[in-house]
């Protein structure tokens, strides 16, 4: 698995090498396939936030931020697709609704990226995006994805095989 380390100066006390502070064990669903991807997703979002929130001058951060952003955006799409395939494989009844939630987020990410580029990399836009993404992701994984796991475990199809 890819480990991302972001060597930026930050006033926030990150211990070197610990780069999954955002992840909490209680988010684990007990579905190994999804748990692995969720941990990776949180790692990517955390890397993005470390650059976003570093105290360095904004213009200096732009190249690294854009790189991290692109990386994370790709991973979000990849993960959503994999999670949707998993839902289909277990005949998850909430598949359509969940897919709509995912699509809503992907559309938002695309829209913000477009605005961000058009604005010539405006900081406010990215800070706004970061705040919403963080809260959205925590709720999505802690609440909405949990329902997939509840169903899978009830059915005894937790993807361990």
């Amino acid at each position: 698995m890819l480990k991302t380390k972001v060597g930026v100066k930050t006033k926030n006390n990150y211990k070197k090498g610990v780069n999954n502070m955002l992840w909490k064990d209680k988010y684990e669903l007990g579905v190994p396939l999804i748990d692995t991807q969720h941990k990776e997703l949180f790692r990517r979002v955390e890397s993005f936030m470390q650059v976003l929130r570093a105290e360095d001058n904004w213009d200096e951060k732009i190249p690294q931020l854009n790189e991290t952003l692109e990386f994370m955006k790709r991973y979000v799409v990849e993960h959503f697709r994999a999670e949707e395939e998993y839902q289909q494989s277990i005949n998850y009844p909430g598949y359509e609704a969940h897919k709509e939630v995912h699509n809503g987020m992907v559309d938002y990410v695309k829209e913000v990226s477009k605005q961000y580029e058009n604005s010539n990399y405006d900081e406010q836009l990215m800070q706004q995006f970061g705040g919403r993404l963080l809260a959205w992701l925590i709720n999505h994984v802690a609440a909405e994805d949990q329902r997939i796991a509840d169903y899978a475990l009830k059915k005894g199809v937790n993807g361990n095989d």
């Binding site: 955002l22 936030m49 800070q127 995006f129 705040g131 919403r132 809260a135 959205w136």
Partner: protein, 152 residues
């Protein structure tokens, strides 16, 4: 109806705080009005069987504490990141309320959160369902003002 609605909002807040912030101990008390100097106000419009708006008021210190818990990072002031995260949480609490309402056969939708300037929205319209709640948590309090009309 109003008592039930009040409880629905308190329960939704409790649920979201417990899941997202790991804060399970909260208490609530009804309120006539909410006096706090530095406050972040997020209005969420409701349309459907209940129509109007709900205003979430987060004191600055509560807002910063919430974002610090979610991010594991330090935040010293309210910036675009903080207002956006808090708006999303207001949106999520309201979404939980919608789910609870739909199971008691009230169909509503919510609009995109709007950040208000402090006490911008103080006009006193009449609402069928008008109440305030103050919620206390270990990281500070918040206030929810419900101003809704029952349609149909």
């Amino acid at each position: 109806m109003i008592d039930k609605l009040y409880k629905t909002f308190v329960d939704a807040t409790q649920n979201v705080f417990s899941l997202m912030l790991n804060l399970s101990e909260i208490s609530d008390h009804p309120l006539e009005s909410f006096e706090c100097e530095d406050v972040l106000e997020v209005a969420i419009g409701f349309v459907g069987d209940l129509d109007g708006e709900v205003i979430y008021r987060f004191p600055i210190s509560t807002s910063l504490n919430m974002v610090e818990i979610m991010s594991g990072m330090q935040f010293e002031q309210v910036d675009a990141f903080v207002t956006s995260a808090i708006s999303e949480i207001s949106n999520i609490i309201s979404g939980n309320v919608l789910n609870a309402l739909s199971s008691s056969d009230l169909q509503c939708n919510i609009l995109t959160p709007v950040l208000l300037k402090p006490y911008e929205n103080s006009e006193d319209k009449e609402y069928d369902l008008k109440t305030h709640t103050c919620i206390n948590t270990s990281i500070g309090e918040l206030c929810i003002e419900i101003r809704l009309n029952r349609i149909g």
